[in-house]
Structure formats: C-alpha cells, structure tokens
C-alpha cells in the first residue's frame, strides 16, 4: 500500500477516528485505525476504527500509488501528522510491515498489525436510512448529555433513552438515579426512529452519544436509521454505527410529581451567577446548596466546616409559605447551564420530592433533581 494525501485532511480524519479507538484493551488491534487504499482510479483512502460497540468509517481523497490495506496506532499516527508541515504526505507500507511516513526530510516508521486481524465490520447499507435534521438531533443530545452517568450502577444505565412520547413526540431521556433530564421534540423530525422496537424505545450508550455529537459538529447533511440493533448516522463522508444497549430504562415517568403546587420564576443569568459564587465553597464531600425561600427572597446557602460558608440572596416574586430544600449544587448548575430561556421556573412539592427546573420559553426541556436530605 502506498498513497499520498494532504496533511490537513489526514489530521482531520484521524481526529474523527481517534475517539472510537479503545485506550485500554486486551485487543491491541482496537487501538489501531484501518487504512485502505483502493484502486488507483478512485483515488480514495478509507479509514475505519471500532471498539466493537462503536464503529466509524470515513474517507479522504488522495493519490493512490499502490492499493492495499493495513492498521496502525491511531494515536501515534495523529500525533506525528500534527507535527508535520501542511504539505503532501507520503504513507507506505514497507516489506517489513512497517508504515513509513515521509514529508520533506522527516521520516517515521510505525509498527502495524495486518488488516486481516482487524475485526470484520459490516458496513451499514444505505437503504433504510432516512434524512435527519442534524441541528435538531444535535440539540437533543447536547441538552441531555450531562444526565447520562459515566458508569452503570444498580440505579441507572449509562445511556440515553429515546422513546415515543404521546402520538407525535420523541423524547430523549437521561438519568443517573439522582436526577432526570429529558428533551422532547416532534417525531416528524425523526422519520428514522422506529418505535416498533421491543421495549418501545432504544438506549444509546454514553460514548456513542458523545461520538454522534462530534460527528454532527461539522456536518449538516445526514441520514440515520436503526439496523441490527445499531444506530447508524451517515454524513456524505462518514458513517458511524453505535450498538444500542440492552436492558430496561427505569420507569421514570412514575417518579415525576404530576402536581407541583409551588413555583418560582428566576432570571437564569442572575441565578446561575449566584450559584457559581456559592459553589466556590462546596467540594466533593459537601456539595449541597440550600434554597431558603421566604417572602420576596431566595437565599442560597452553601459551604462546610472545612472550607467556610457562602450565602447569596436573590430578590424573587414569591409570597407563599417559607420553604427550605437542599440540592447538589453541581446538579442544579448542570440543569440550568444547558437552558437557553432567559427565565427559568423552579417547581416543587416539598423538600423530599424531586424539584423541577424548566425553561420558561423552552417547553421541550425538562429536568428534575432529587433533594439532599439529612
């Protein structure tokens, strides 16, 4: 295999691929990117990577001199390419199975693993993929990503749950067992979503959601679909396949208090700044903020015996009973940071039920945080 391609294009594809490769694995080939140079006439070079759950195929144009394929460490190749001048780079697999990289007077040789050892990936077929509004999908994912826990635990699944809500809507739901967030959009935007799956919904793993967001960052024209328990997202140059999670998402709708008799509206900016100030004196062990609500004012108290105490008071339109509740301050900040609405609404039942944080002008967004109790 031998080909030449522009440095910038190579860096771009390797950046896309790197997120997919595994960092710690018992299968070294999963750290590698597969490079395939097809027939000279097509002047196309394919790059693919997989961690067996996520797979990505992408390509760039170049000049193929000898067709062939091999795999090489994605991280090392990217690190080298980043340091090289913006010129045409020569890549060649040598007879000793090393990948030779050359530009100007710089030369590198990287060990390879034969392409035949790379897991066989069935490239998704184009049929059954339907156009998808990239901007809307990206919003849905970005608004809910913070709620997906890093790891599975007995109380939560490390994935984003998509399911049909009502006759016309699709909901993106995440929960780490302490808080819940969802974003609801009309289903018409997501023709590809088949609600016919067994449980009525699908669960996209956290890493998959992060990769989809990355792919969508630069692309507007996409098609999507579900094939063989994988979510496929395809742009003109890139295809991403994400294996969906098995398992059942908790019946979250049951724990949302339907009647929330008390509410309060706040300026998002002011509220957020006050929370950030109080957050300075919270840490891993003492992370609560106390909402102390009385007529006309909301006092935010935080702190601990080690770091000190913080208190901030906001003027609010409230004439109900005095009320006090405590939340993890990080959770409240996460919930309001993704909101676009200038005003937010805090709704509650009592100090034991989850508090609801909504955007006044953003009806699609819903977040619920369980209080902290003594």
């Amino acid at each position: 295999m031998k080909f030449t391609a522009e440095q910038a294009g190579l860096v771009h594809v390797l950046q896309k691929v790197l997120g997919i490769t595994e960092k710690k694995t018992s299968m070294p080939v999963l750290c590698n990117v597969m490079i395939q140079a097809s027939e000279p006439a097509s002047s196309r070079i394919d790059f693919s990577a997989t961690d067996l759950e996520l797979s990505l195929w992408t390509q760039i144009g170049g000049t193929v001199i000898t067709p062939g394929s091999t795999t090489v460490s994605a991280r090392k190749l990217l690190e080298i390419l980043r340091e090289l001048p913006q010129k045409k780079i020569i890549l060649e697999e040598l007879a000793n199975h090393r990948l030779y990289v050359e530009v100007g007077r710089s030369r590198f040789e990287l060990p390879t693993i034969p392409a035949s050892d790379f897991p066989y990936l069935r490239v998704p077929t184009e049929t059954q993929l339907e156009p998808c509004e990239s901007a809307i999908l990206r919003t849905c994912l970005e608004k809910t990503f913070y709620g997906i826990p890093m790891d599975d635990d007995p109380f939560s699944i490390s994935g984003l749950y998509l399911h049909q809500a009502g006759p016309d809507d699709l909901r993106f739901v995440a929960s780490d067992g302490h808080r819940l967030v969802f974003y609801q959009v009309p289903r018409s935007n997501f023709g590809w979503f088949q609600s016919g799956t067994a449980s009525g919904g699908i669960i996209v793993p956290r890493k998959g959601v992060a990769e989809i967001i990355r792919v969508l960052e630069k692309e507007t024209e996409i098609v999507a679909g579900i094939q063989e328990n994988c979510l496929i997202i395809k742009t003109p140059s890139t295809t991403l396949s994400v294996q969906l999670l098995e398992g059942e998402f908790p019946e979250y709708e049951l724990i949302i208090p339907v009647e929330r008799p008390f509410q309060l509206e706040l300026e998002r900016e002011t509220f957020q700044q006050a929370l950030k100030r109080v957050a300075v004196l919270t840490d891993q062990r003492w992370r609560h903020v106390r909402f102390i609500l009385s007529e006309g004012s909301l006092q935010l108290d935080g702190g601990n015996p080690d770091l000190g105490n913080a208190s901030d008071v906001l003027d609010v339109e409230y004439d109900g009973e005095p009320f006090c509740v405590a939340f993890n301050i990080r959770y409240v900040l996460d919930a309001i940071q993704v909101m676009e609405s200038d005003r937010i609404r805090f709704e509650w039942v009592d100090e034991f039920h989850g508090g609801v944080f909504l955007g006044v002008d953003e009806p699609a967004y819903f977040s619920l945080i369980m209080p902290m109790v003594i």
Partner: protein, 385 residues
C-alpha cells in the same frame, strides 16, 4: 498570640480490670485479666497481674501460663462504655475542650480556665477525687504545655499518679526520658535510634535536624520537634471517626461458609447500627479473615453510594468473603466500613431492589431495640432461644 497552653491528659488505670474489681469487690487485690476467650488477647491486666509479666495485647494462653492463678474475665464492653461516659461527663465540667482519645483516655485543654476552676493541680485533684467517688476507679493525670507532654506525664507515675511538666522543666524532663516512653515512635525509628546509641530523648538533639531529615524524611522533622517537646496539635472535641469495624475470634476454627455467613451478618448489623447512631454512612466495605495459620487476608469494595443499611453491608461483605476463597479453617472474621461521609445524603429517584424498604426496616429495628433492649428483636437467621 500567647504560646503558653495548659493541657491535661487523663488516663484510667488498668481500666477494664479496674471496672471488674469495682463491680465485684471480691476481686480486689487479685490479679484480674480481662480477655478470657481461649484464643483472644489480653485487653487489660490489673496492677496485681503485672508483676507476673502479663501485658495487654498478649495472647491469653500466654497470660495463663505466666499467671495461672489469675482471674480471667470476658470483655464487657457495654459496661466499660457506661463507666467511660461517667468519666467523660466529669471531665466535661472542667473544660469545653475535651478530646475523647479512647474509652479510657481523654485530653482537656484547661488554658484560660484558672479564673473559674483554680490552678490545674487543684483541678486534677478534684477530677481524680470525683472519678474515684463516682466510679471507684483511679486514674493518672499529666499536666503539661501540650498534648504530647501531657500524655507522657500521665504515664509517668502510674497508677493513681499526677505529674506536672512546667514550661521551664520541659528540656530537663526530656533529657532523661527514655525514647521508648515517647509516643508515636515506630519500630523502624526505634531500631535506628538504637543503632545510633540514642537512648534518651535528649540525645536526639545532639544531632542536627538535617541529620534526622536525611534518615527519616518528614518523620525526622517530627522526631526532632518531639525531642524538643514541641507539639502544636490542638485539642479537638468530638473527633469524627474515619472508619467503623467489628470482628471476632472464634472459640474453635470455622470452615463452614454458612456459619461464617451468619457472623458476617452479625458484624454488618452492628456496624450499620453504629453508623446510624453517628449519623454517617460508609463508602467502602471490607472483610478481614484470619486463617488457622494466622495468615490474614483483607478485601474491600467501594460502593456506588455510601450506605448505612445492614443488608447492603452484609451483601457486599458476603460477596467479598466468597471472593477470598476459603481453603483452610478460619480463626477470625471481621467486617469494616471506611470512607465515612457525614452530612446530607443525595435522594434517589428510583427504589431499585427495595433499598428504601430495607432502610426503613433498619430504622424500625433500631426503634424496637431502643425500647426493648438489644435482644428485643433479632433476625431469624441469628435467633437462638
């Protein structure tokens, strides 16, 4: 800021043994050794037993050999705690700053209490008198400008002693103090000191500080400070525990997993009760197993969220026990929780596995035990008529 503090260390004399002698006056004047289980260790030896060479932490069988006519008694921790509470209550009358070091030891900061209670010596005499009158036990008191010296002083004239080290006497006192009397000097440091021919604390100062830092690093700094009698640590009332554990040595080695399992449950219940009483939760559960050949194995596991639920601690400990793999009989088993968190607990959205119900069960059992005593309610698996 004035540097002159007045710290008092109170140390009960052979506490457990003394309580036994008070509760049973026939034992007065007899060598009493607490720690009667055949295979445990001596937890306390009365002063009558000490001439025979019996020391605490010595295996009971060895103590029996040394002192065959001794009175060996089982440990009655509940009772010692009760007496300890009486002692601490007396101490707390003399200063708001009382640090309970253990069941039988406490440190008081008497700085600035002179105007109210009189000189520290007078206070010491009063405290000793009150403790004797209330509990029948004697104690030894040390008074010094800091915690380190006060502790050394309390140990100086045991039993029923009282030693005062004044600021100006510190250097001469330490010059002739054997290094073995200095608390917090580990085995390795002791060996090094012996090799260097350093027998008295004062000898440490004959080498420059840098000499000790080169050999002991940060501990060298501490050693040099200690040798000068410097200790800036404050008296902290209500020091919060960092871990909580429960263990026991069996009268006969056990091999049956089912039997060990029941012990794990007992320990888990005890620990979770302690956690709930202290209003804290543990994040890490560990299991300790001592095999017949005295080999000790411990394993631990960090939970997804801190807990005070007996079932969760039991389940985790049980899984750990099974993962240890028992190839020979077990002598001792223990369960511990560490990584304790205090304060508020994050509420949960979902009650998977009925955790809320299990927690409610614990609370209900606590309430019943509060009212009807420890045996008021027992889990079926642990019931014995």
């Amino acid at each position: 800021m004035t540097s002159s503090r007045c710290i008092m260390h109170v140390d009960m004399d052979a506490f457990y043994a003394a309580v036994e002698q008070v509760d049973n006056p026939r034992l007065k004047g007899m060598p009493v050794i607490v720690g009667a289980s055949r295979r445990g260790v001596v937890t306390a030896a009365s002063y009558e037993a000490r001439p025979f060479g019996v020391r605490s932490a010595m295996p009971v069988f060895k103590a029996r050999k040394l002192c065959p006519h001794g009175v060996f008694l089982p440990v009655r921790m509940e009772r010692y705690r009760e007496v300890s509470r009486q002692v601490m209550a007396i101490l707390s009358k003399y200063s708001p700053l009382v640090e309970v070091v253990s069941v039988d030891e406490a440190t008081l900061d008497l700085t600035g209490t002179q105007a109210l209670h009189g000189s520290p010596m007078k206070v010491a005499v009063q405290i000793k008198g009150e403790i004797l009158a209330r509990t029948g036990c004697t104690c030894s008191v040390g008074i010094a400008p800091n915690k380190l010296l006060a502790k050394i002083a309390s140990d100086w004239e045991k039993p029923d002693g009282m030693t005062v080290i004044r600021e100006e006497e510190v250097a001469s006192f330490l010059a002739n103090l054997p290094v073995s009397k200095m608390p917090g000097i580990g085995r390795n440091t002791q060996r090094l000191l012996k090799e260097l021919g350093v027998a008295m604390v004062g000898d440490v100062l004959r080498f420059p500080e840098i000499f000790w830092i080169d050999r002991l690093g940060a501990n060298g700094v501490r050693l040099y400070e200690k040798a000068q009698g410097t200790d800036r640590s404050p008296v902290i009332p209500e020091r919060k525990p960092k871990s909580c554990s429960s263990e026991n040595t069996f009268p006969e080695n056990l091999l049956h997993l089912e039997e060990l399992d029941r012990w794990i449950l007992r320990h888990a219940e005890k620990i979770s009760g302690d956690l709930r009483r202290r209003c804290c939760r543990g994040g890490t559960v560990s299991v300790k197993v001592k095999f017949a050949d005295f080999r000790v194995m411990t394993k631990s596991c960090t939970l997804h969220e801190p807990t005070d639920c007996s079932q969760v601690i039991y389940d985790t400990a049980n899984t750990l026990l099974r993962s240890i793999g028992l190839r020979q009989p077990v002598r001792l088993i223990g369960v511990g929780v560490s990584n304790l968190t205090y304060g508020m607990l994050q509420g949960r959205l979902f009650d998977r596995g009925g955790l809320c119900r299990l927690e409610n069960l614990d609370r209900a059992m606590d309430a019943i035990r509060e009212k009807f005593g420890k045996r008021g309610i027992v889990r079926g698996r642990l019931f014995s008529p």
